[in-house]
């Protein structure tokens, strides 16, 4: 009986055990946790930065290669199956998956920080630095993150919808592991996926909480003590746990749609109230520079000058996207049943990417406009505290208070919907890929997400969040390379014209 339970719940028990150990360790010895995670993080960055760059470029090439090959016509489902969602509904959901706390957190601050602190071979705060900043913002948020998500979601969709296996990462390894996917090897793969999801999501929740706190401090002069950030996390945790446990799926959907509308309104307000021609010029020239340099950007680690910069930004982003990929991948897979591989890959790679480009152009480009043309001094704020940049930027617009409040509202709703979805996904990953997740698992994962975010904020703040995202992503990156291989094996067995 106990043996059967341990076998069935192996992934849950093991992953929950590791995460609880991590939380306990962080509470008992935060200094030791900080030094241990920093050592692992430094070792990964010192030795494997190149692997992140090459792997992510490979994921992009692989995804495009599949879409344009004869396998592009294969359906993610049975041959006669029709797409589960209409095209526009599907695209709306892709938007929802692509938009989140990160866009709000980094939309203004990333271009400004690159502008102020570019690699050593570019003069800081110069027009060249502005161009560099926008290009890298496009690069970090462009087609590559979606290529990462594509690999995971395509693998899950193919093996679960077309091959009839559970929606688990381990299922994708059947072509190489065979029945061992039900044993230790398969469980290890799923535990790595859970591990990456917990730390990737906790990083985002940490960012979100920091920014909500900064916004409230900025607007209402709230104390900037870390205890307030923790309080914000606790309140948000209560809200998203209630949503996850009560199963207010419809409510979450309504909230998500509301957020998309609110984000779009905010986006166009910032565009309309700013300098549209300037911003649209930024869009066109950055897009050109991005397309023209995409291969160089993909593989460039600036080993002779600026290696640190590349490690701190590009490698961090790649790791963060990788750690998010089981979560986003599973979501995208679920909404994409019945699509062909070509349709899936090309849409997932282009539509959300274009939206993100527009977002970064409007927020980042407008911020650079204020900085370069009006000497607004927002870059200095971003350099001091990245979470404050958005609110410092909105200060320069009419109705700044309302816009800032809208941004905070967006952050809170994103926090709740992301954490709610992550809790359900983690529950599913630790329940054999089933859609029905017991409440006690939702409680464990919901509390774990928030506890990990709090522990990381207490041990080292923003840096600790980034360190853990990179560390947790590393093993999963190797899993993703394996996913490409197993997907290729699976597709090679298809009879295609």
């Amino acid at each position: 009986m106990l043996r059967e339970y341990l076998r069935r719940e192996g992934v849950f028990l093991l992953s929950a055990g590791i995460i609880l150990f991590f939380i306990g360790f962080g509470v008992a010895r935060p200094d030791l946790l900080d030094s241990a995670s920093s050592a692992v993080h430094a070792a990964i960055l010192d030795n494997f930065s190149w692997l992140y760059l090459i792997s992510v470029f490979f994921f992009l090439a692989f995804a495009l290669g599949l879409a344009l090959s004869r396998y592009g016509t294969i359906k993610l489902g049975y041959d006669a199956e029709r797409p589960q969602y209409g095209f526009f509904g599907w695209i709306a959901m892709l938007f929802a998956a692509g938009m989140g706390i990160g866009l709000l957190f980094w939309g203004v601050s990333e271009p400004l920080v690159h502008f102020l602190q570019p690699p050593p071979f570019i003069d800081a705060a110069s027009p060249d630095a502005a161009s560099f900043a926008m290009r890298y913002a496009f690069f970090h948020w462009g087609i590559h993150p979606w290529a990462i998500y594509t690999i995971v979601s395509l693998s899950i969709a193919y093996f679960s919808f077309r091959r009839g296996m559970p929606a688990l990462i381990s299922s994708c390894f059947y072509p190489v592991l065979g029945e061992r996917i039900y044993g230790a090897a398969g469980k290890t793969v799923d535990v790595l996926a859970v591990f990456a999801t917990v730390f990737g999501t906790a990083t985002s929740l940490g960012f979100g909480a920091l920014q909500i706190h900064s916004g409230l401090t900025h607007l209402y002069g709230l104390s900037s003590a870390i205890s307030v950030t923790i309080g914000i996390i606790l309140i948000a945790t209560a809200l998203f746990m209630a949503s996850a446990i009560i199963g207010v799926e419809k409510g979450v959907q309504v909230l998500s749609k509301f957020n998309i509308v609110l984000a779009t309104v905010l986006l166009f307000l910032v565009l309309a109230l700013g300098s549209p021609p300037y911003v649209l010029n930024v869009f066109a020239s950055t897009l050109g520079g991005y397309i023209n340099n995409i291969i160089d950007l993909s593989l460039q680690s600036y080993p002779f000058a600026g290696f640190e910069w590349s490690r701190d930004w590009t490698v961090f982003y790649w790791a963060w996207w990788i750690s998010w990929s089981p979560f986003v991948g599973l979501f995208i897979a679920r909404i994409s049943r019945g699509r062909t591989i070509r349709e899936f890959v090309l849409t997932v790679l282009t539509v959300p990417t274009l939206f993100t480009f527009v977002w970064f152009t409007i927020f980042g480009g407008s911020a650079l406009h204020l900085e370069l043309e009006e000497g607004a001094g927002i870059a200095a704020v971003a350099g001091e505290d990245v979470s404050l940049a958005l609110f410092a930027f909105l200060e320069h617009y009419p109705f700044a208070g309302i816009l800032s409040l809208a941004a905070i509202l967006l952050l809170i709703v994103f926090f709740i919907t992301s954490a709610d979805s992550a809790t359900v996904v983690l529950g599913s990953l630790t329940s054999g890929g089933g859609l029905v997740v017991p409440n006690y698992k939702k409680v464990v994962w919901g509390l774990s997400l928030s506890a990990v975010a709090i522990v990381l904020l207490l041990t080292g703040g923003l840096d600790a969040l980034q360190v853990m995202a990179i560390t947790a992503a590393f093993p999963f990156m190797l899993v993703m390379i394996g996913l490409c291989y197993t997907l290729a094996i699976g597709l090679s067995q298809e009879k295609v014209q």
Partner: protein, 276 residues
Amino acid sequence: MFEKTLIPVAYGERPEEVRKAGTILKTLGANSVCLYHVNEPGSFFRGADLSWLTLLSEALEETGLVVEVKTGEGHIASAIAETALLEGVDGIYMKAKRRWHIETMLLGSVSRDLLRLADVPVFVHKVRPRLPDDGADPAQSDLNVLYATDLDEASARTLPYVMEFAGAWCHVLHVRGRMADPLAERVRREAVERELGTVAEELRPYFGRVTVEQQIGDPAAQVLYVSDQIEADVVVLGRKSAAFLSAPMGYTAERIVTGSRASIFLVPQPGRRNAS
């Protein structure tokens, strides 16, 4: 199968070694042998006295075989493959030499080329079956044969050769990749079992015992493993074109020939003419 066999020889070949080869070939049903030597352009031995060839020929004749001596010029492997075709031999016999350690690890470039280029079956004699002076008395009826088959059309060409070995035991092995899901895997396994059963039925009249096995994994590694497990004397397999990506590692047949202790009988792909 070996009625007329071509034996490529080089300067320095010892008559007693050739005599042993003759004994084995006689056991396998050979009547006549074409001893063939290629003068490589620019070779140090080019134009040297060829009386050593006569000595080899005499040694072979002692085994009761009809011997014909021929020489040629050019790229060694291509010349051998071309002559084998022109002379209408049934197969080429090569003894894997063990005089130098390096040859046990890597086949010489001539042998590798010949394995790729030959349009007739090639028999590479390795450690097993043992030669008469190794304390064994080779008899065809004692042979353990491992037949590695892809179960595709090309394999059909190999089957008659397997029948001609007609030894004590034939183990039919099919190595394949795993299917992408459990259901497809079960269906494939059952289909392979049926196909292997059919092959076994065809071979049963020729062997004392016929067994079948399917394995998942790397074909070369699995063939070598199973060959050692069953102590096969001869591994019979068909030769396929090397996939582009496998070229740096050597194609499956080459890897098997290099690593096997059993002799290899390699049947070329049908419809391909390399030497010409």
